[in-house]
Amino acid sequence: MPDALLLAQKLDAFYGDFQALFGVNISVDAGEVLAIIGANGAGKSTLLRSLAGLIKNDSNQVVFKGQSIGDKRADTIARLGIALVPEGRQLFPSLSVEENLKLGAKVGRRGYWTLTSVYELFPILNERRNTAPTALSGGQQQMVAIARALMSNPEVILFDEISLGLAPVIINDIYNAFPTIIEQGVTAVIVEQDISRALSVASRVYCLQKGSVKLEGLTREKTRDAITAAYFGVAV
């Protein structure tokens, strides 16, 4: 295996006594778009939260650019260049749209993404920059969440169900921004329940089921049936 940018190695994750991930192995190569799919409760968010440091693990269970980071704090990991767009947007209600974005730049990593370039990506946010995020539509909120993560100029960006609860037209708007985001050389991990949406942009896919990887491979080599089977846990 070539040196992966980001690795989960035999990753177990727990909520107290409850084990949510069982020996998950995932490797993310530099520059790729990777999809992680799975039914509700499969452990997708838990995986992303472990990668981002919101759940502490053994040090070597998560490796980023050859460095073991499984036990590092989330703020340290953010500074290293991993950003998470959390499930359910999770904007700061006490901060205006622009303040949310400025906070995203707090890690102090320089690069393509600045207020100017994220406003170019999502022009509507420029118009609404002094608004409270709670006054925005769901789609606009999702744009803020994505733009906020981009502001840290991450090397890896983790998207947790960005289409959840949004109308198809709005989802299209958001996915239309993908090429521009990827062009900047960022590596993306996309978690979605909507299989076809995820497969349309990703080159590789992992399927999680009950906390374990049930299927992995190139999206073009996997048949719809095989993925569906791994998704729902029925025999092919």
């Binding site: 989330a74 703020d75 999770q90 209600p93 006490s94 906070l103 890690v107 709670t134």
Partner: protein, 287 residues
């Protein structure tokens, strides 16, 4: 005219109560910490000033230059070493730990300074007054009130117009997501505590000039601080100032009617506000 004077005195006294409450409000606002030791910290500020004045032979107001950073440093250290460990989903640990801290502080102060009442002497400034027409107002209470307004204005500015303030609001909104932004929560909490302690030191010194103090009086100041915060509405510093003023006016007016009613009138005003508006007069608007 006599009543006008009484009300003005109450308003100015309210400035001191607002200063008592500001630190408490800050701690709760940023990290949801209810600090039972807050009254003892006010007293601690007064005692550190007492020692500074004794050792360096300076005016208490000058002593502030030293006492405020000392208290700020103690606040930061206390938050990083002890209080951060108590914060979590459960609100009981910080209550218990700060209660313990209160007991320790009182006993330590008693051991070091004895139970004898002490006072910070500000010299002629204490008795000086200025006249507005027939109304005569004490210079020191006026100075205290102005300090409260300036400090609260400054803190509001920090909260809403600086990157530090952005971080305060972000950790207050959602600690996990704030960490994803590269914010070291433990440090930001430490800084908030340092600010709260700094304001509390100023409150302690102004209080120590105004009245005599001994190690046991922290509890009463804590109660006043709580009442001011709750009357004003949680998380709103200008509301806290209003809360302090309402308490101050109730006390001076009550005391004017019958000297024994002074404290009681303040508590009744508090209960009255709580009864008609349980969230306080100016709760922070939830967006």
């Amino acid at each position: 005219m006599e009543w006008l004077g009484v009300v003005v005195q109450g308003v100015l006294l309210g400035g001191l109560y607002a200063l008592f409450a500001t630190g408490l409000s800050l701690m709760f606002g940023v990290m949801r910490l209810v600090n039972i030791a807050h009254g003892d910290l006010i007293v601690l500020g007064a005692y550190i000033a007492l020692s500074t004045v004794a050792i360096l032979d300076v005016h208490p107001v000058i002593a502030m230059v030293l006492v405020v950073p000392i208290m700020g440093f103690v606040g930061y250290a206390l938050q990083r070493t002890l209080l951060n460990r108590t914060l979590g989903a459960d609100i009981l640990p910080p209550l218990l730990v700060t209660f313990g801290l209160s007991v320790i502080l009182q006993n330590a102060l008693l051991e070091i300074y004895s139970a004898d009442p002490q006072k910070l002497s500000a010299g002629p400034m204490e008795t000086a007054s200025v006249s507005f027409g027939s109304l005569s107002v004490g210079v020191f209470p006026l100075l205290t009130f102005v300090s409260a307004i300036v400090l609260i204005g400054l803190l509001q500015w920090v909260f809403y117009h600086t990157s530090l303030g952005r971080e305060f609001r972000a950790v207050s909104d959602n600690q996990e997501i704030a960490q994803l932004m590269g914010i070291n929560k433990a440090h930001v909490f430490g800084v908030a505590m340092a600010l709260a302690f700094a304001v509390t030191a100023i409150a302690g010194i102004l209080f120590g000039v105004r009245t005599s103090f001994d190690p046991s009086i922290g509890g009463g100041r804590l109660l006043l601080a709580f009442e001011a915060v709750i009357i004003g509405g949680l998380g709103n510093l200008w509301g806290t100032l209003a809360g302090g003023i309402i308490l101050g006016v109730a006390q001076t007016v009550g005391g004017q009617i019958n000297p024994g009613w002074q404290q009681l009138a303040g508590h009744i005003a508090f209960l009255f506000v709580l009864a008609i508006k349980p969230t306080g007069l100016f709760p922070r608007v939830a967006h």
